[in-house]
């Protein structure tokens, strides 16, 4: 029996999240984080937001974006803490905290996306 390491799978989630967030986040953030609040562009009406979010495809894409981006964050943040701050003795604690947040966040994301009428 070969011992399975979780690392390749975590790396896969990390890179998938990296690509998906790179593709989708800059424009989403530019609109909802910068352009609408500054008033450069009028924010969409509630009805239009419900129409866009009501589409099952939108929800599937958003769920994938949220889940993978959370694992991307967890993996990268964990390794940055190891390398940047040299706190390797806290190895297990940090892993449990970061991936734990990603798992819980994924559950919360599923619940919130499910709630849209």
């Amino acid at each position: 029996m070969i011992k399975q390491h979780p690392e390749p799978w975590l790396w896969l989630l990390f890179s998938a999240g990296g690509v998906l967030s790179a593709m989708l986040m800059p424009m989403l953030l530019l609109l909802f984080g910068v352009a609408f609040p500054f008033g450069w562009v009028a924010a969409p009406s509630h009805a239009q937001m419900v129409a866009v979010l009501g589409n099952p495809l939108t929800r599937v894409v958003l769920f994938a974006l949220f889940m993978l981006s959370l694992f991307h964050w967890a993996h990268r943040f964990r390794h940055t803490l190891y390398d940047g701050l040299q706190i390797k003795h806290l190895n297990e604690v940090i892993a449990v905290l970061t991936y734990g947040v990603a798992v819980v966040g994924t559950g919360v994301a599923a619940y919130i996306l499910w709630q849209i009428p």
Binding site: F32, R76, T80, I116
Partner: protein, 138 residues
């Protein structure tokens, strides 16, 4: 847990140069590395922000209006401007690394890394246009 990281235990008789905790402040390339890795914090923040937004849309027009107001608060707006810069930096650095991580073959010929990277940039542009059209243009 992960035992793929096996660190050598402390061994007083070996010569090991101590590395400063702030080693990444010593050189621009090191600092850029930390900025790149740090971009994940802003990716995480944006997931949280989007979840709050989607949740508000689900609760009705009033809470949606409230979250739009909240997004114009100076500290939220400031954080999002910084986040946008970091997320864009994340995108560029991630696509830069694509040729190292992804080898594409068509038949038996290897597709040049630059082409693979260009394809990713094209996809990024298309995705951005599609998002803008869905939210603002439609």
């Amino acid at each position: 847990m992960s035992d793929s990281h096996v660190y050598t235990p402390y061994h007083p008789r070996w010569l090991r140069r101590r590395v400063s905790t702030y080693w990444w402040l010593q050189k621009w390339s090191y600092f850029r590395f930390i900025l790149r890795e740090g971009s994940c914090l802003f990716v995480g923040w944006f997931v949280l922000y989007m979840l709050l937004l989607v949740n508000a849309v689900g609760k009705g027009p009033d809470s949606y209006a409230r979250i739009l107001e909240w997004s114009a608060e100076p500290w939220v707006l400031g954080l999002n401007v910084v986040s946008f810069l970091f997320v864009a930096f994340h995108a560029v650095t991630f696509f830069e690394a694509v040729p190292q991580a992804l080898v594409v073959h068509i038949g038996r010929t290897r597709v040049p890394g630059r082409l693979v990277m260009a394809a990713h940039y094209m996809a990024w542009a298309l995705a951005s246009v599609l998002i803008a059209w869905l939210i603002v243009g439609a």
